[in-house]
Each structure stands twice: as C-alpha cells, then as structure tokens.
C-alpha cells in the first residue's frame, strides 16, 4: 500500500490500531478452538474501541466516545461472556469444523486484503490519507468477517464472524469525518448482535446454520426432495 508520510502521528496511531484489527481478524481465521476465538474477538473489540476513541480525539468529535464505550462494553465483555456461557450450556463442539482448511483460508484472506487495497488505492486523490488507510483496513476486516462466517460450521464462530464484520463497519463509519448517526447506528448494531445471540440461546439453534444431515434440513424447507 502507498507509503504514508511518517510525519503525521495521527495517521501512525490510526494506522497501528486499524492494522491491529486486521491482524486480529487473521488470528480469528486461524483459530480452531471456540474459547480461543472468543478471546481473540474480545481483543479485536478492544482494539476497535481504542481506534474509535482515537478518531474522536483526532476529529474532536466527543460523541464518538459513546460508540467506543459501547463497543468496549458490549463486544469486549458482555457478549463474549454470554457466548462462553452458551458454549458451556449447549455444549457446542469445542473443536470448530472448518469447511476449508486453515492454509487455504489464510490464502483467501490475503487475497481479500489485496483486493480491498486494490479497490481503495486509486480513491485517494481527494480523500484524506487517514480515510484511505482506514477504508482499506475496514474493507478488509469486513470481507474477512464474511469469509469467517462462510468457512466455519459452528454457530458461535459464525456469530463472531458477523461481529467482526460489523467491527469493520464501525471502523469505517468512525473513519468518515463527521458522519451523522454513527453513534446511533453502532448502538443499533450492538442490539442486532444481542438479538442474534439471544436467538441462538433461545431457539437452541446450534448447527442449524449448517448441518451435515441434509434430510434434517429439508424438513425445514416445507418441501421435501421426494416431491421432486
């Protein structure tokens, strides 16, 4: 990616935090134990919170602090804790079955990062430098989150995938200078996630994300294959 002017401290820190989130996404992809995944995600949430806080300082937009605290509280502590509970309650397999192995997933992830940089790279003529870097990272985090959702068979890890996707969104939103409604929307997202967790917990949706037993699935499709 384009070398940034070293002078700007603001850029360096933002760059550091955003990059940290990206790295953590890779770690998430790499993990194959549920508990570890949850811990790593908590870490990423914390990184997000820090980066948002830093943005609020840089853009001197105090309301972003709310977002930061919400992110830290909800995604840093409450939800990981809740998920730990669920894992214990519903004894979800501790081992995460992967659809494609770790190596290929990593390669795919790298490809996605390259793609996102490729996409954002030419944008920068008029966009501020911070915006561009953040955007590249945010896009990469979003795509990696999606990748995680589709390469893991385990409900909990899929929730985590979605949440890291959403981390990317919040990163981008806060990166956009003076964007209205960011706080509200980030809060709304947290509620959304709460709903998902709630759903998993209440409806006992374990592997209904993805079951190997197809016949069981068809019973949930209203039309069975024998009708065909």
């Amino acid at each position: 990616m384009g070398r940034a002017p070293v002078s700007s401290l603001a850029f360096d820190i933002a760059h550091l935090l955003a990059g940290g989130m990206l790295v953590l996404s890779f770690v998430l992809l790499y993990q194959d134990r549920v508990t570890a995944v949850l811990n790593v995600f908590a870490l990423q949430a914390t990184a997000l919170a820090l980066s948002v806080a830093w943005q609020s300082v840089v853009q001197n937009a105090p309301h972003l602090i709310v977002t930061a605290t919400v992110a830290l509280a909800v995604k840093g502590f409450i939800i990981p804790a809740a998920l730990h509970r669920i894992v214990r309650r519903l004894d979800v397999h501790r081992e995460i079955e992967q659809v494609i192995g770790g190596g290929p997933t990593m390669l795919a992830g790298l490809g996605l990062v390259a793609l996102s940089i490729l996409l954002v790279q030419p944008v920068g003529e008029r966009a501020g430098i911070i915006v561009r870097e953040d955007l590249a990272f945010a896009l990469a985090v979003v795509l990696l989150g999606l990748l995680m959702m589709i390469t893991r068979r385990n409900a909990v890890t899929q929730i985590v995938g979605f949440m890291s996707l959403e981390n990317g969104l919040v990163l981008a939103a806060t990166g956009a200078k003076g964007m209205p409604l960011v706080v509200e929307i980030s809060v709304a997202f947290s509620i959304l996630i709460a709903f998902i967790v709630f759903g998993v917990f209440v409806f006992r949706i374990r592997e209904r994300f993805d079951t190997v037993d197809v016949s069981a699935l068809d019973s949930f499709r209203g039309e069975r294959r024998d009708h065909i």
């Binding site: 996409l119 008029r126 966009a127 955007l135 979003v142 019973s219």
Partner: protein, 478 residues
C-alpha cells in the same frame, strides 16, 4: 394542523404502542385497519398538498407515488389480515398475545417503510429499510413451528449481512459526498447528492454502488442473494407474504434506484446498468426454472416475485426513458397484483387447510369466486392482457429488442418459461376434479378485487398525472 408528511410517520408511531396494549382481538384488528386507513388518507392528501423538502424528509415525483401505493396496499392488506387472522385465531395457530405483537409489528413495518420512502437522507432511509426488515423477521417466525423459525432465522442472518453491506456502501457514498458538500447531513441528502454527483469521485461511487447493490439486492431477493425470500413467504402469515412481496421488495428497489439516480448524474462512473441487467436476467431465468418444481403454493408465488423483481431490475439496468417507464409501471403493477394473489392464496390455503398445490385441485368447482380471483391474478402476473403487467412487459421487451436483440431473446426465454410454469400450476389448482374440503369461505373479497380492478384499469388507461411522474422519474434515472 400537522402536515400529512408528518402524519405518515406519526400515525404508525402512535399505533404501535396502542396496538401492543389492546388485548381484545376485534378491537386490535379494527384499530389496525383504522390506523392504516388514516395513513392511507395522509398519503393521498400528500397528492394535493405542496411538495415538502427538509434536511431529513422529502416528497418529490419519485416517492410520492410509492408512498400512496405503499399506504394503499398496507390499508387493503390490513382489511385482509383482519379476516385472515380471525381464522388463524379460531384454529388456534396463534395466541392473542402474539396477535398484539403481530399488530404492533405490522404498524412498525408500515411506519418504517414510510420512513424509508420519505427520507431525504441516505442514513435515515437505511434505518427505515432495516427496521422494516427486522419487524418482518419477527412476523415470519410468529407461528413458531420449526419451519417458521428456520425461515425467520435464515431471513434474519442473510438480512443482517445485507444490512451490513448496505451500510458500508452508505458510508462510502457519504465519504465521496463530504469531500464536495462538506461534513454533516447535507452530504447525505438525496437532492443535494443528485445535484452535485457530477463532482464526486466516480471510483468510490462505483465501489459504493456494488455494496449497495448486494445489500439492498438481498432485500429485493435478487438471485443469488434471494435465499431468504421463498421460505419467508411460505412460512409466515399470508398478510406478511403479501406485504413482503408487494411492498418491502419495492422499497428496497426504490432505495437502489435512488442511488442509481445519483450515479446516473455522473457519467464517468462504472456502467452499473450492465451489472443490473445481468443480475436481473439471472434472477428472471433462475426463478423461472425454479417455478416448475414448486409444490407449496406460497413458495411458488414467492419465486414469481423474484422473477418480477428481476424483470424490473433489468428494465432499470437497460435504462432509457421507455425501459425506465416500463420498469416503474412493472414495479407498481407487480406489487398490486402479487398482493392480490396472496390475498386469494391466503383464503384458499385456509379453506383447503393446506399449502400443498397437489391437495387443492378443482377450485373452480368448490369455490368459484376465489378461483376467479386467483385465476385473474395469475393471468395478470403471467403478463396476459388486459392487465397492467402486459403493458409494462410490452414496452420493455419491444424496446429492448430494438436496442439489444440478444438480451431481449434471453428476456423472452425467461418470460416464456415462467409463463409455462405459472399456467401449469394455475390449471392444476383451478381446474380438474375437485379435491379437499368444500365448506364455504369466510373471506373479504373486497381487497382482492379492488387490486385486480386497479391492475385491469391500469392495463388499459393510466391517469395523466401518473404518466407525467413516471416520465419525469424515467428521465432522471438515465
């Protein structure tokens, strides 16, 4: 005196808590109808008041028509839902508690759609669409059968991902805009965006549109992002299926079109028309073939909704005044017709006690009026005259063939395949030796036949005002 624009938002907002608290079923249903009627009246009043434009809300040629349509279909659906839900309550498929929840959610959804349509702010519109989605998720799962929960869950997850992607696109649009329009609300206002799009960064806009297309495309049920749609239609209560097909898909497409307008105002952006045409054709042909294997009547018409959304998307993709006009007409006609079909289907499924097409043959013998309604609806949706969809498809196919012969051929292949499937099922349901129970149906035919009458009239004659709006929007869409 409070302006109709605000009424459109206030009435549902008031109705939600009230309906959530009212315990009596009859009262709740009546209030629901009343609220919808008031909203509809406010929408109609909009036609006569002067156009409004504020930081957050706007009324222009484009959305005024969709607001009237949405509130109207909401109104008719509420009438239908009253009789429908009564029957569901009798056979105990849902409990009074859930019924209160249902009515509240109904209003929430309609209100959210009004927000999305009225919004002059891409963020606000996004919020509207998402709230509408989430409230429908709730209602899809309301029967709490494993199938229903499965459908709702699928809808929820795919919808959430769509939400996220659409939001990312919104952020990108804001980023491009704020470089020109400065920070704050003005960089998210429709009219300003459309006016100044020429000075935005085309690359970022194109990138944004891709995310918006996937995000809102998921809401519209464009293949391959359609997965939630058939099951959500099939497993939820039929009024919800009617509103989903009739309104929510339209609102999502409306959002997409707003963004297309912005892009159309900047010539140096990526040619998104091609992408939309591709997605439209894929949806059309895919859905057309999927129609053949359907055994569940509601799922059948859900796939037909995918098909028609594909047609509309294709129309806007190819662009030009004629095709855009056809697309707008098609959206309108489809929402009226499809909701009418779901009204009929709801009653049919109730009297026959099943949604399996195989178990509901010979309807014209057992329930002639319902059969007539369904037949007219299906013939209309299949694109037969003298109904409105014939007019829109007439314009679309002929003008496309004059410009892009090959695409027109693909288009008619899709249309023909879908036609074959629909007529096959129609004959299976309406004709042949009668099957299933013959007991009379307690139905309100009013909404069904009002919609059909409107579609019929629109197929032969459109008011000059509507034509003027459509022309104006068609030119804006480029």
């Amino acid at each position: 005196m409070i302006a109709p624009v605000d009424l459109l938002l206030v009435i549902p907002a008031v109705a939600i808590p009230v309906l959530a608290l009212v315990t009596s079923y009859r009262l709740g249903a009546a209030l629901n109808v009343l609220a919808c009627a008031l909203t509809c009246a406010a929408g109609v009043a909009l036609l006569f008041g002067e156009r409004v434009r504020s930081e957050l809300l706007i009324v222009d040629d484009f959305n005024i028509f969709f607001i009237v349509l949405t509130t109207f279909v909401g109104f008719t659906t509420s009438i239908f839902s009253a009789t429908y839900i009564a029957h569901e309550l009798e056979i105990g498929r849902i409990t009074p508690v859930f019924l209160r929840f249902y009515h509240a959610m109904f209003q929430a959804m309609l209100g959210a759609m009004n927000v999305a349509l009225l919004a002059n702010n891409i963020g606000l519109m996004w919020v509207g669409v998402e709230v509408a989605t989430l409230s429908t998720v709730m209602m899809v799962g309301i029967y709490r059968t494993p199938e229903a929960i499965e459908a709702a869950w699928k809808y929820f997850i795919l919808g959430s991902v769509g939400i996220g992607l659409a939001f990312f696109g919104t952020i990108l649009i804001y980023l491009t805009a704020q470089e020109v329009l400065g920070e704050g609300l003005s960089a998210m206002a429709w009219d300003l965006l459309a006016q100044n799009a020429g000075r935005f960064d085309p690359r970022l806009m194109s990138l944004a549109f891709v995310f918006l297309l996937v995000g809102y495309g998921t809401k519209m049920g464009l293949a391959p992002f359609h997965a939630w749609l058939p099951d959500a239609h099939a497993e939820g209560p039929t009024p919800i299926s009617a509103v989903l097909s009739g309104l929510l898909l339209n609102v999502a497409l409306y959002a997409l079109l707003r963004f297309k307008m912005v892009l159309a105002a900047n010539p140096s952006t990526l040619n998104v028309g091609a992408i939309m045409m591709a997605l439209g054709l894929i949806s059309l042909i895919f859905a057309a073939f999927m129609l053949y294997r359907r055994r569940d009547i509601k799922r059948l018409f859900a796939y037909s909704s995918i098909e028609h959304m594909g047609i509309a998307t294709f129309a806007f993709g190819i662009g030009g005044p004629l095709a855009n006009f056809a697309g707008l007409l098609h959206m309108t006609m489809h929402s009226l017709t499809k909701s009418a079909i779901f009204f009929a289907v709801g009653h049919i499924a109730q009297v026959k006690g099943t949604q399996r097409i195989a178990d509901m043959g010979g309807l014209s013998v057992t329930h002639p009026v319902l059969a007539t309604g369904l037949a007219l609806g299906v013939l209309a949706i299949a694109g037969l005259p003298p109904f409105g969809i014939f007019a829109s498809e007439f314009m679309l196919v002929s003008s496309t063939f004059a410009r892009q012969p090959v695409l027109a051929l693909l288009l008619i292949v899709g249309l023909l395949v879908a036609f074959g499937a629909l007529i096959l099922r129609l004959q299976e349901i309406v004709f042949g030796p009668p099957k299933g129970p013959k007991d009379p149906v307690k139905a309100s035919y009013l909404p069904l036949f009002i919609h059909l009458a409107l579609v019929l009239v629109a197929g032969l004659w459109l008011p000059g005002e509507v034509v003027r709006w459509f022309r104006a929007v068609a030119t804006l869409l480029g």
